[in-house]
């Protein structure tokens, strides 16, 4: 059903977890941050963020609360839970291992 994002399968979770690991952010801020940090290289469909956020919340890796943004609008802020932080470490390790492996293969070829 879901349209494939331009991201490698499964990396959206990692990006979201990493992005909110320092401070809690609302949906739009997460999308903006990912785009900025990746220097616009990673374009994510903004709406597709939300199913991912809901899934992560369902897994109890992130939690949400409503509070005002700096511009005074109410928004739902997401932050990592304790188990989310563990999950982030796990996914980071996996990512490093995977990307290193891919790099090696790519450079060998």
């Amino acid at each position: 059903m879901a349209k494939p994002t331009d991201l490698v399968q499964g990396t959206l979770d990692l990006l979201i977890l990493k992005t909110i690991s320092l401070e809690s952010k609302h949906g739009w801020a997460i999308a903006k941050r990912i785009q900025q940090v990746s220097q616009e290289a990673l374009q994510i469909q903004q709406g597709s963020l939300y199913p991912a956020l809901h899934r992560l919340e369902q897994q109890a890796w992130i939690k949400a609360e409503w509070r005002p943004t700096e511009t005074g609008r109410m928004a739902k802020f997401y932050s990592l839970t304790r188990s989310g932080r563990k999950q982030l470490e796990k996914e980071l390790a996996t990512w490093v291992r995977l990307s290193t492996a891919i790099n090696i293969v790519v450079q060998e070829a």
């Binding site: 469909q45 899934r55 897994q59 739902k76």
Partner: protein
């Protein structure tokens, strides 16, 4: 996903779905506003910024849907929608669905209730320790196949220590409980071996059971009382233990109070005392009066092994004590205790259980074909859904949830039905088990209802569902405008109808046979007339003051004298046992006698004895065959006389006139006078309407001293109604002696009804079930034929157009119905013939293969089934050829 969070999601969905939805909406809006703010900063107008933000965001609804899916609530939402849709469908076809729910409720209710009864009677363990090893003893002797044991037999059995851990005897007695300021009361007291309680493995609620030596003279005036008696008469006073109560005017120390579910061996047992069998009694192998002998098999010993051992014991005894020349040698056997309790009920229960299972199957088949025909009508809608992109799984789930709505409705109603019919079905439980195993809807039964529900939902929900999905989208669409052509011939429906007819005819035959047996008994001449007769028991010898014969006679005379003055009373008499007071086929109450001039090689002649006052035959209108009745001249100083029944005359004086023949109650050498037979009366069904009459002799009470049975039953004939007579008699007795208890007050016609009540209940229940089955079969065949007529509208129209008469059309349609009916009948009749022996034990005076019943049932069912076909057939003749042809 953690369990906790899924639970939270689920609860959120159930309790705050709209809030979750609103929050999702708000979050999306907040995102869009933030992005729009951003874009506005870069110089876009507010309107363009909002538009741009929406485009960037992507499919708004799609992401919402995906979020819902992530939350796991989509399945729930769909289910809710399906159920709502199902309910709407139900509402739209409310007639059909009410029928479906009622049919299901009937099936589920009847099955559940019967299962409860079967579980209670046949499956639930008796409330004793390892009840599977408990057996009861019987003797095959004196022409009885299940004679009660004699104390002499018991003495041998308890020495068989290799097979039995223990053997205990029970002798039922009746005692009068007096004192403590309450009215005196007649109690059923069981005299039991002290080892009975450890043998059964029961403990008292209060106090203790008997010690091993408490049946020795001097220590034996101890009693255990039932929970019911303790609560009822003694107000549940715990200090009763250790105190004494007055039974038959003597003091008995209460050793303990039994638990509420203990009532051994009968449900009316109220108290237990130690049995005091003397050495002489323990050698008595002729008087079979122990009401129950129960044993516990050693671990590993089977009933068969025990019976083999008992057989060799009885053969050994037969060599030592040769049998009477007129009988076969005595033989012993044991059977599981439960079998003794459920002997008469078992086959009836299994039969009814089979019947309700049939009904459940028929009900499921009917609902399935009902749904099937409805789904076929909705084929177009289903095709449309498939065309619009619904997956087959999704459609299947929708159909299933529609039938689930029906199933749940049927189940709830069914449970209510079961619950309310338990009161009626309680009568199916053997009387002596009622106390020990209460009948309730329990968890296991509820579990089985859920099972039944699951099975039936799958059975009748998925079958049509599967069929509905077997379509070719293209083919169906091509035919879309002409609905009728998409219908197939309802093969499955026809199969259901044949099965329903087969099951119904089997039930009809079974019910017919039971009803005939019941009617045979109902209209059987019992040898006496029960209308306008009141009966009651006045148990005297147990009250100290009436141990003396003259005092007793005086009481009887005074009671009779006063009773005769009551308005409407035409005759009154005492007897030692009114008919049907003691029932069953055992030898209890027989005494030995010797015919004058007859010398037996071995053994003795025996007959049941009754002691009566002269008017007894007049009250019960038992006709005299020969000779005369007793009169006032047959007093204590006149020569001894007796009246015998036809059976006794035929058995002991065959081809002779029994009048003026003489016999004595004891060996010929005993110095007692001979008794002369002065009359022969008609046989009376004394021991039960279905029990053949046995030799009986009647003695006038003024001559009956000493060893005779004591009179206790009063029978009174009135010209009017017996209502109110019972109270009048009670009042009358208490005005003569306030301490004399009166029990068993019951019109004679009630006793007769009571005697055949189990048969009546079984026959009516099976009759009712057969009626339901026939009705279901008719609904089934009606549905199938209506469907067939609807499908063939076009064809029938053409036939009518080319000149077929209405008669031809009716014949053609009835013919099809008749073929189905006859096929079902054939299968069912064969089934009934084969399974006939299952019911044989429940019949009286009619064979299980009674041709008349078979024919009657077949004719009845055929007639009803054809009638059910005739209605759609008539409708077919009303088809206007022009309309039918144009409908294409």
């Amino acid at each position: 996903m953690t369990v906790f969070s899924s639970l939270r999601t689920f609860l959120d969905f159930v309790f705050r779905r709209s809030q979750v939805e609103a929050e999702m909406e708000e979050e999306f809006r907040s995102h869009l506003r933030s992005r729009a703010d951003d874009l506005e900063h870069r110089g876009l107008s507010r309107g363009e910024a909002e538009r741009e933000a929406r485009i960037e965001f992507g499919g708004y609804q799609r992401y919402k849907e995906e979020c819902r899916e992530r939350l796991g609530t989509r399945v729930l939402q769909e289910l809710a929608a399906d159920v709502r849709y199902g309910l709407r469908q139900l509402h739209r076809n409310s007639g059909v669905n009410i029928v479906a729910i009622l049919i299901l409720a009937l099936g589920i209710g009847a099955t559940t209730a019967m299962f409860c009864v079967v579980d209670t009677v046949l499956l639930r363990p008796l409330p004793y320790r390892q009840p599977g090893r408990l057996v009861s003893f019987f003797s095959v002797s004196a022409g009885f196949t299940r004679n009660l044991p004699a104390p002499g037999d018991y003495a041998y059995w308890r020495t068989e220590k290799n097979i039995f851990e223990g053997v205990a005897a029970v002798d039922s007695r009746s005692y009068t409980l007096t004192g403590d300021g309450a009215a005196s009361e007649q109690l059923d007291v069981e005299a039991v071996s002290p080892e009975l309680f450890p043998l059964l493995g029961v403990t008292p609620l209060l106090g203790r059971v008997f010690g091993p030596d408490e049946n020795k003279p001097g220590t034996d005036h101890v009693v255990l009382i039932s929970h019911r008696l303790w609560r009822g008469r003694f107000g549940g006073d715990p200090s009763l233990v250790g105190r004494s109560i007055l039974m038959n005017g003597q003091k008995w120390t209460v050793d303990g109070v039994m638990r509420p579910d203990f009532s051994f061996p009968f449900s009316k047992s109220e108290a237990w005392i130690p049995i005091d069998l003397t050495p002489e009694q323990l050698e008595n192998r002729g008087d079979h009066y122990l009401n129950e002998v129960v044993g516990r098999l050693r671990p590993g010993v089977t009933v068969e092994q025990a019976n083999a051992e008992l057989l060799s014991l009885s053969q050994q005894l037969a060599r030592e004590y040769p049998a009477p020349s007129n009988g076969s040698p005595e033989r012993f056997f044991v059977e599981p205790l439960r079998a003794t309790y459920t002997r008469t009920a078992r086959s009836g229960l299994l039969l009814l259980m089979a019947a309700v299972t049939f009904i459940l199957l028929t009900a499921c088949a009917n609902v399935a074909s009902l749904l099937l025909s409805r789904i076929e009508q909705r084929q177009h809608e289903i095709t449309m859904r498939a065309m619009l992109g619904a997956s087959r799984a999704r459609i299947f789930r929708q159909l299933l949830s529609e039938s689930a709505v029906l199933a749940i409705g049927g189940c709830v109603l069914g449970i209510l039905l079961a619950e309310s019919s338990l009161g009626l079905l309680k009568a199916l439980i053997p009387a002596d088990l009622v106390q020990s195993v209460p009948l309730t809807l329990d968890f296991r039964v509820l579990g089985s209802v859920v099972m039944i529900l699951l099975v039936s939902t799958l059975l009748f929900g998925s079958t049509p569902g599967m069929r509905a999905l077997q379509f070719d989208l293209n083919e169906t669409l091509k035919q879309a405008p002409t609905r009728t052509l998409t219908l197939r011939r309802p093969r499955l429906g026809e199969t259901f109808v044949v099965a329903e007819i087969a099951l119904s005819i089997m039930l009809l035959i079974g019910a017919g046979l039971l009803l005939k047996s019941f009617w045979k008994l109902r209209f059987l001449d019992p040898g006496f007339r029960s209308e306008h007769v009141m009966t009651l028991s006045l148990v005297t010898p147990t009250t100290q003051r009436y141990v003396d014969f003259n005092h007793r006679t005086d009481l009887f005379d005074r009671v009779l004298e006063r009773v005769r003055t009551l308005p409407g009373v035409t005759a009154a008499a005492f007897t030692s046992a009114a008919p049907l007071n003691w029932t069953g086929g055992s030898m209890i109450g027989t005494i030995p006698f010797t015919r004058q001039g007859v010398v037996l090689q071995h053994g003795v002649d025996r007959a049941q004895d009754r002691v009566i006052t002269p008017d007894y035959f007049k009250v019960l209108q038992i006709p005299l065959d020969r000779g005369r009745f007793f009169d006032e001249n047959d007093g204590p100083n006149a020569s001894l006389v007796a009246i015998v029944n036809q059976s006794m005359a035929r058995t002991y004086w065959p081809n002779q006139d029994a009048i003026d023949k003489r016999f004595k109650l004891g060996p010929a050498t005993m110095p007692i006078p001979w008794i002369r037979i002065v009359g022969v009366v008609r046989d009376v069904r004394q021991m039960g309407l279905d029990q053949p009459p046995r030799p009986e002799m009647y003695f006038p009470y003024k001559q009956a001293r000493g060893n005779y049975m004591v009179m206790q039953d009063l029978v009174v004939r009135t010209t009017g109604t017996v209502a109110g007579l019972g109270d009048a008699l009670r009042h009358l007795v208490s005005s003569i002696d306030p301490d004399q208890p009166v029990s068993n007050v019951m019109p004679m016609s009630e006793r007769v009804k009571h005697d055949i009540a189990p048969r009546r209940l079984r026959a009516y229940l099976l009759g009712g079930l057969a009626g339901i089955a026939v009705a279901l079969a008719c609904v089934g065949i009606y549905g199938v034929m209506t469907c067939a007529v609807a499908q063939r509208t076009h064809e029938i129209g053409i036939c009518a157009a080319v000149g077929a008469t209405p008669h031809d059309i009716v014949v053609s349609i009835l013919g099809r119905g008749a073929r189905l009916t006859l096929l079902g009948l054939g299968i069912g009749l064969a089934g009934a013939a084969i399974s006939g022996r299952l019911i044989a034990g429940l019949l009286f005076g009619v064979k299980s293969t009674d041709p008349l019943t078979f024919v009657e049932s077949a004719v009845l069912l055929t007639a009803v089934a054809l009638l059910a076909c005739y209605i759609p057939a008539r409708r077919a003749t009303k088809i206007d050829p022009m309309v039918a042809l144009r409908s294409q």
